[in-house]
Structure formats: C-alpha cells, structure tokens
C-alpha cells in the first residue's frame, strides 16, 4: 500500500469510528435534550485543546452474538485537553453506542486515562451517561467498575476528581461519582440511584418516577450526593470551569493566585447583623462583604443550608469558607450539616487551601430523629476534620458560639491558628435563657414573682457571660476586632501563615467516624 493510501485508510477508519452510534442514535440523544459525548467535550474544554486516545479500541465480547457488533470507541471518548490553559484528563461516556454501557474495554479506556491523570498530577473529569453494566459481558463488566472505583480511591486527595452526571448513572456505576470530589447534575437529565423505579415497584409496590427518585433536584436538595445543580448542560460546564479556577491541579501545588479585587461595595458588615442574637441574617452577605470581588463560589447550596461552604479569594488566594447560616434553622449543626462541612474541610486540607470559619450558632439541633440518625457519629466528623487539618485555620466568631457548637466550629482547642471575635460575640456554655433557667432554677421557682426573677437572672447572666471578654480573658481567642477590620485581619494572618508547618505523629491513616 502506498503511503498516500495508508494515510487515506487512516482517515477512513477514523471517520468511521468517530460517528458515535450513528445518526439515528444521535437524533435520539438530542430528542432527550442531551448533547452527544463529543459535543460535551468540545463545549467544556478550551477550543481545539482536546486530544483523543484509544479511539480504535474494540470490545472482546463473544457471547450473545456480540462478536458481530461494532461498538465505536467502545462507547466512551477519552483523552486530554485544557481548561483555562491548564491540563485536564477527561472521559465522556457515549450513550449513543450501546447506551453507553460499560464493558471491560470501555472501563480500561477510563482507567488508562485515570492512571495518566494520577501520574501527571492532572485533574480528572468524568462525564457519566450510561445505562450501566454491559450485561452481555457479564462479570467482566463488574471487573471494569471495580477497577475504576479502586483508582477513584487511590486518586482521592491527589488529583481533583469531578463527576458530571449527564444521563443515567445507576446501580454500581453511581459509586464512582460518589467516590469523587465534586458531582455536577443537570435538571431533567441527571438520574442517579442504586436501585431504580422498576426494582422498587417489584419489591415494595411503590411507584416513583426516575426524576423523583434520583433526579438532579433530589440529589442536590435531599440526599447531598451531588454538589452543583444546573438548568442546562452549558450552565453546568460554566460551573465546572469556575470551580477549576479555585482549585489546584494536584496536592503538591497551590491554587493559582489571581489579581486582587476589593469587595464590590463597601458594605458596613456590622449593619448586616441584627443586634438581637435570636434574629436571622444571611451569612453569605457577610462573606461577600469580606472576600475579593464579593465573589463566593458556594458548594451544595441547596442541601443542609444551615451551614454554608464554598470557595472565595482573599487577596488573590483561594480560601475555603465554612460558615453557620443563622437564616436557616438558626444555623444549628445537625447530621447533614456536619457531613457537609466535614468533607469540605478535608478537601481543603488535602489541597492546601486555608480555612476560614465564620461562627454564629446556638449549638446542635435537638430531636429524637437527630439522635436516632446518629448525630453523635456525624457531628464528630466535624471535630475530626478540623482537628486533623494542618492548613492555616482562622476562625471569626460573629455572634453566638454556644456549647458544643463553639468547640466544633474550629475553636482554638481544635487547633485554630487564629481566633477572632467581634464585639457582638457571645462565647458561652449555652444561651443566657437556658443557662439562667438551670443555674438559678430554685431561685426562680422560690421567688414571689418567678417570671420577673427569671428575666433579671437571664439579664444578669447575659451581661456577665454573653460576650467575647470571658474567652478573651482566658486566651481562648486572640483578639476582639471591629467587624470592619475583618478583611484586613484575615489577609494579615494568612500572609503570616504561608509557611505554616504542623507535624502529626506518623500513622498509616486515622479512623474518622465515617
């Protein structure tokens, strides 16, 4: 064969296998309101940056007449590209080829690109759109999943792993996203569950749609399995690029420094907070008043909203923020908010992102449902993650810091490097009402006017203990600061913390209360 013909042959072969599952299947994909795997890669990555590998991989399945079937690229597109000029590894399952089903070679394409990402310290993005295991391949298909899960775990804390659910992702398959750092879902497109509506109907006789069982809203509002909700695939890709701008490419490098931008409006942050500690405000307003360009990239916005987590920049450097949200459930800690914060703290620690904790909470949520759901075990996760973290840890107590909540929210006692309190802070073993009712119980009961005595005792306790000065007198906090100085203080101490080293006893790993 002449050189010219060889090259021609190559182009013909390539043209054939890049047609996905054929026009009919592609039309079907569009009819479902979904892009194809190739569209998605093109839209997400920098223009012309995608380099594809393993295009000519073929499956080895011989059972059930499978040997006669040609599955282009074996139903998954893999390769490397860039986002904002920085390298990423990517795979995108192709639903138009055998429903994106996962066979052994399909899985091996994924694990190859994963190995590459780990070796080269490059973030991994996985676009999931698959009917699940390729049943005809039997146990080999299960082997494929297992090999992916193993690498997800090995890569955890080494390179960022992002899962994008753009179609069904069910059964065993959904455990890969669950092992990754951030899961993105799109309204009416993403479907995640372990057992689907069919099985539930057979076993329980209960009918439920895929959307109500494991759609995008369910995963971002009820379960917390997913972190970002988008209305369209394009919005989802914007969110991914935005996230990538905040995080480093691997655990050995720092996140990019960006140009410093002052908070947008000179918000008088002390004006946001109501004087009365029982009145709510939106913690995100405070965050926007403190951090660069008033930008706050919130994570898991619609789940366990009583705590807010996310990234922001301080003087151009990425910081992770954990803040109680007085607006929702008074900002209490509970099972879900503890899970949410704990995992984020560990993420920041793994990737050397300093932690800023903003405190205003009355304590843990009381309730039989909370106790029975294991609030002890879940609540302990937050203590564990803060204590374990060795990144710079700065805490600002805005208002209430009562009891167990005070300890949990990155107190000095859990290793905070700096703890500041506003003059509005109330650092005490519990709120004045509760404390007075216990301490002065008999005095109140025996008084000729119990209500008046109670009121006076609450006031007395409040004046004595509901302030930052008792904690300051004991050195539990480093400084009482004017709210308007918060940004300056944070910038100053984070600059001081640049070379922080904190050693821990050598161990294989700890045993967090998972």
């Amino acid at each position: 064969m002449s050189l010219k013909n060889k090259i021609l042959e190559f182009f013909n072969k390539k043209a054939k296998v890049t047609t996905l599952g054929g026009q009919k299947a592609i039309d079907k994909q569009y009819a479902m309101g979904k892009m194809t795997a190739r569209d998605r890669i093109k839209e997400l990555l920098d223009p012309d940056s995608f380099h594809e590998y393993d295009l000519f991989v073929v499956h080895h399945s011989k059972d059930f007449d499978m040997e006669k079937k040609e599955l282009h690229a074996d139903g998954v597109i893999t390769g490397t590209g860039t986002i904002a000029g920085k390298p990423v590894c990517i795979f995108a399952q192709d639903f138009t080829v055998a429903g994106g089903s996962l066979g052994l070679m399909h899985a091996r394409k994924i694990t190859k690109v994963m190995d590459h990402a780990i070796k080269f310290g490059i973030p991994l993005i996985g676009i999931n759109d698959s009917g699940g295991a390729r049943i005809q391949e039997g146990v080999n298909s299960l082997a494929g999943y297992g090999e992916i899960f193993y690498r997800n775990t090995i890569a955890s804390g080494v390179i960022p792993q992002i899962s994008v659910i753009l179609g069904p992702c069910a059964g065993g398959a959904v455990y890969s996203p669950a092992l990754t750092d951030f899961v993105f879902v799109v309204d009416k497109i993403s479907k995640m569950f372990i057992t689907g509506p069919e099985v539930i109907k057979t076993v329980l006789g209960e009918e439920i749609s895929m959307e109500d069982l494991g759609g995008a809203r369910v995963q971002t509002e009820i379960t917390g399995n997913a972190h970002f909700f988008a209305h369209t695939e394009l919005e989802c890709f914007d969110q991914i690029r935005n996230l990538m701008s905040y995080i480093p490419s691997n655990n050995n490098v720092k996140a990019d420094h960006t140009a410093v931008k002052q908070p947008k409006s000179v918000v008088a942050i002390d004006k946001i907070i109501p004087a009365e500690p029982s009145k709510p405000y939106d913690m995100r307003h405070i965050i926007k008043a403190i951090f660069d360009d008033s930008n706050f990239f919130e994570i898991q916005e619609n789940w366990a909203a009583n705590i807010v987590i996310g990234f922001a920049r301080l003087n151009g450097e990425t910081v992770g923020i954990v803040g109680n949200q007085p607006l929702v459930l008074a900002g209490v800690l509970d099972v879900d908010s503890s899970d949410k914060a704990a995992r984020f703290i560990r993420y920041c620690d793994a990737y050397s992102i300093p932690l800023v904790t903003l405190v205003d909470l009355p304590g843990y949520l009381p309730g039989i449902d909370q106790e029975h759901a294991g609030v002890i075990r879940h609540g302990a996760k937050i203590l564990y993650s803060y204590s374990e973290a060795t990144v710079p840890k700065v805490t600002v107590i805005l208002r209430k810091a009562y009891g167990g909540g005070y300890i949990a929210m990155c107190s000095r006692h859990l290793g905070a490097d700096f703890v500041f309190a506003w003059p509005t802070a109330e650092i005490a073993v519990m709120g004045p009402e509760g404390a007075a009712n216990i301490i002065f119980r008999s005095e109140i009961a025996n008084s000729p006017n119990p209500e008046l005595t109670r009121k006076l005792k609450v006031q007395e306790y409040s004046e004595k203990f509901a302030n930052p000065y008792v904690a300051a007198a004991n050195g539990h906090i480093d400084a009482v600061i004017n709210p308007g100085e918060t940004r300056d203080y944070l910038i100053h101490v984070l600059k001081n913390s640049q070379n922080k080293t904190e050693l821990r006893p050598t161990k294989k790993h700890g045993i967090p209360p998972f």
């Binding site: 076993v203 329980l204 006789g205 509002e221 009820i222 500690p277 029982s278 009145k279 709510p280 405000y281 939106d282 995100r284 909203a305 009583n306 007085p326 607006l327 929702v328 459930l329 008074a330 900002g331 209490v332 879900d336 009355p362 304590g363 949520l365 009381p366 309730g367 039989i368 449902d369 029975h372 009562y402 009891g403 519990m430 709120g431 004045p432 009402e433 509760g434 404390a435 009712n437």
Partner: protein, 105 residues
C-alpha cells in the same frame, strides 16, 4: 440567594430563634415507640407463608412467618415464649420495613 422571608421559629435551649425551616426538618417523622408485643418486619418483601396460627402457643425461636425478601426465604422467628394473639398480614402481602406482622401475648 435565599431572602430573609418565610421566617418561622425554632427553640434551642429555651431561646426562640427566628429562622427558615427546611423541608427535611418540617417533614421529620414523629417518634412512635414500638409495641414490645408486636413483631415488626425489618426488610421489604412478600409474606410467603404464615406458619403460626392465632391462639397457638409458641416457643422462643419457633418460626412464625416466612418472608420472601432480597431473593431469600427469611424465617421470622419468635423472640420469646408466648401465644399468638393476632396476625396482621396474609400470605402474598407486600410488606415494608416497620410493618407489624403479628402480636404475641
């Protein structure tokens, strides 16, 4: 962004806080103590066979019901000696976790 609206109240340590309440909080299940005389189902399934009869004396460890669940025939056995007072399900019934199957006196 959540606005400061739909405020309700929540009590923590005798203090009434103004705040929004979440769907999960509002829909939390009220605790109902279990009746120690009743045998409850622990797994969703189908009642395959009811072995015990009302009025029958039974011994601890004796088979009461066979439940088909998770591709297995599961024996529901008596936790103690007693007498079957009432059976609440019939063969072929689909039962969910927490369903009372029968009562022992």
């Amino acid at each position: 962004m959540i606005e400061n609206k739909n405020l309700s109240s929540i009590i923590i340590d005798d203090t009434v806080y103004e705040a929004q309440l979440t769907k999960k909080y509002l829909e939390r299940k009220k605790y109902v103590p279990l009746d120690p005389n009743k045998i409850y189902d622990a797994i969703p399934g189908v009642v395959h066979e009811i072995v015990a009869r009302p009025g029958q004396s039974i011994k601890k460890g004796e088979r009461l019901v066979v439940l088909e669940a998770m591709k297995m025939m599961n024996n529901i056995i008596s936790p103690r000696n007693g007498k079957v007072k009432e059976i609440f399900v019939k063969e072929g019934d689909m039962v969910t976790k927490g369903t009372a199957l029968l009562e022992i006196e």
